[in-house]
């Protein structure tokens, strides 16, 4: 589904990502791990259109998508969440989720201003769908809450609900468990499993090794922007380079 070939990006003198290549098949859970600064979020930003690569190619179902903007990628069914949250604090929780469905709705402003028939009904249906999604991610009790009243952990799950509202084919989760306590981490682990089971291809950046090993079908290891190893959980766990660079005591 997703092919990445020789992807690189340089920021001034910093080679944040160098010649990284890998493939992701549809329907699996694919994790990207590596020490801090290894380039994982940068890689995400490259694939989701936030950055344009210096060299290399990214193909989604054969179509080259490198350099396309995030909203063009959204149109192709690519969703993502953010490590440090990008939530609209000026809106309610459910509105944040409803925004996720943006592309699926009639966005014409004249019709909206003049309240064409049918639009109200669509909005109500969307609201119900968003409420269901919030239930799905475990935020049922926050449906009417304002985003700025919610905890960090809750907002991370809200972002997942928003991403799911896009009905994406491919979802990028950037450290969904970062900043969460052990109990919350287990809940996120279950949630990611639920998302994967619903048929969406999941690409995950995570530090929590237990979660990564639990969930992933395949794992990519990055170090200093370069691909260190790739394979199943078992293979990665036994890879000496990986152990030396990263896993250490975790293995």
């Amino acid at each position: 589904m997703l092919e990445v070939k020789d992807l690189s990006i340089h920021f001034g003198g910093v080679k944040a990502v160098q010649n990284v290549s890998f493939n992701i098949d549809a329907g699996i859970v694919y994790s990207v791990i590596g020490p801090n600064g290894a380039g994982k979020t940068t890689l995400f930003n490259l694939i989701t259109g936030v950055y344009t690569p210096t060299t290399g190619e990214i193909r989604l179902d054969g179509e080259a998508i490198q350099g396309k903007s995030p909203n063009e990628l959204a149109r192709r069914g690519v969703a993502r969440t953010f490590q440090n949250l990008q939530v609209c604090m000026n809106m309610t929780a459910i509105e944040n989720v409803m925004v996720g469905a943006h592309l699926r709705l009639d966005r014409n402003l004249i019709k909206a201003a003049l309240r064409f028939p049918g639009l109200k009904r669509r909005d109500r249906e969307l609201r119900e769908e968003a409420a269901a999604l919030m239930e799905f991610v475990g935020l049922g009790q926050y449906v009417n809450a304002r985003a700025d009243a919610m905890s960090f952990g809750a907002l991370k799950r809200l972002e997942i609900a928003r991403a799911l509202a896009m009905k994406p084919r491919l979802i990028f989760l950037d450290e969904p468990a970062a900043g969460l306590n052990p109990k919350e981490t287990i809940e996120v682990d279950h949630l990611v499993r639920k998302v994967a089971d619903s048929g969406v291809t999941v690409v995950l950046v995570e530090h929590d090794m237990k979660m990564v090993m639990n969930l992933s079908d395949r794992i990519l290891v990055l170090d200093y922007g370069k691909k260190l190893a790739e394979g199943t959980g078992e293979e990665i766990r036994k890879n000496p380079d990986v152990i030396a660079a990263y896993l250490g005591a975790h293995a």
Binding site: A74, A79, C88, N90, H102, L103, A113, R115
Partner: protein, 310 residues
């Protein structure tokens, strides 16, 4: 629409219906009309500043284009006032789109600078081209005529403007709860998040800027016909600031706040009419005090207080 919004709309309609019968004389009727006109302009401006989080410091320039289109085109070229008004709006829309597109591609608050420059250029042009515009002294405006009937009377203008206001409030309330409106608010909340869900950020910003500019132009034309006279002061920097003040005081991102802001700050200059320097000082002080202590504006602050009470 939420219940509270429905009630708000009904209150607005009720007030508008009652006002012409309780005002003591035509001075107050005129004041009411000016308040209503400003309210519509501020609604449009608030969509830009409050909802989309962008700032325009030259909005009076768009008012000026509309007003002078309604003055110049019928007077010098014999055009029908409605056609002139439409032309003014079209020119404004085009200008706004041309300026906005390159500006919005930049990150940061460059729109403030661009609109500032644009507003000043428009003002200077209006002052200079005296043969068309009457220069700094301004020029008279032919009355609006609809189906051959010329509109002179204050009372008729009141109902026209009141009607426009009700429609604008209704349309704004509809818009806010729609996908378009949510996208705008999301844009203000987090541009990055909006982008990843598919909102074409640049297009939306341009759209809302053009929309608010066209609103202003149309109301500029209405003002011109109502007063019967235009002068370049109508399109100057201070007027642009007055409009921004109305948005800020009433409440950014609040439809009813826009109305309150317009009412209060249209009345204020009248109250301070004899104290010229003080008018400036008071406006400035209001801007500062509100932004420091009541940054959300009157209506949202009150709404939050009462919300907590529920």
């Amino acid at each position: 629409m939420k219940k509270s919004q429905n009630i708000g709309l009904l209150i607005v309609i009720a007030v508008l219906l009652v006002v012409p019968f309780i005002v003591p004389n035509s001075f107050y009727l005129d004041l009411a009309i000016r308040m209503a006109i400003n309210a519509v302009i501020v609604l449009g401006l608030n969509l830009l500043i409050g909802f989309a989080g962008q700032i325009s410091l030259g909005h009076a320039g768009f008012l000026g284009i509309g007003a002078y289109a309604s003055a110049v085109l019928p007077t010098h070229f014999g055009w029908h006032p409605l056609v002139a008004m439409g032309t003014g709006a079209a020119v404004t829309g085009l200008l706004a789109a041309l300026v906005a597109r390159p500006i919005f591609k930049l990150k940061g608050h460059y729109l403030a600078m661009a609109t500032l420059g644009l507003g000043i250029i428009i003002n200077i042009a209006l002052r200079n081209e005296a043969q068309w515009t009457g220069g700094p002294d301004g020029m008279p405006v032919p009355p609006m005529s609809v189906f051959g009937v010329e509109i002179y009377s204050d009372k008729i203008w009141y109902w026209v403007v009141a009607g426009l206001l009700v429609v604008s409030v209704w349309a704004s309330l509809n818009l806010i709860d729609s996908p378009f409106g949510r996208a705008l608010r999301a844009l203000h909340g987090s541009e990055v998040a909006s982008q990843v869900v598919g909102v074409d950020v640049v297009r939306y910003k341009v759209a809302i800027f053009v929309m608010s500019a066209v609103f202003a132009s149309l109301m500029g034309s209405v003002t011109a016909h109502y007063i019967g006279f235009v002068s370049p002061n109508f399109a100057d920097f201070f007027h642009s600031i007055e409009l921004v003040t109305m948005v800020v005081v009433g409440g950014m991102a609040s439809v009813f706040g826009s109305l309150i802001g317009a009412v209060l700050l249209t009345a204020l200059p009248q109250a301070l009419a004899t104290f010229e320097g003080w008018e400036t000082v008071v406006f400035g002080a209001i801007l500062m005090l509100f932004m420091i202590f009541l940054p959300k504006g009157i209506v949202p602050t009150l709404a939050a207080k009462f919300g907590k009470g529920e």
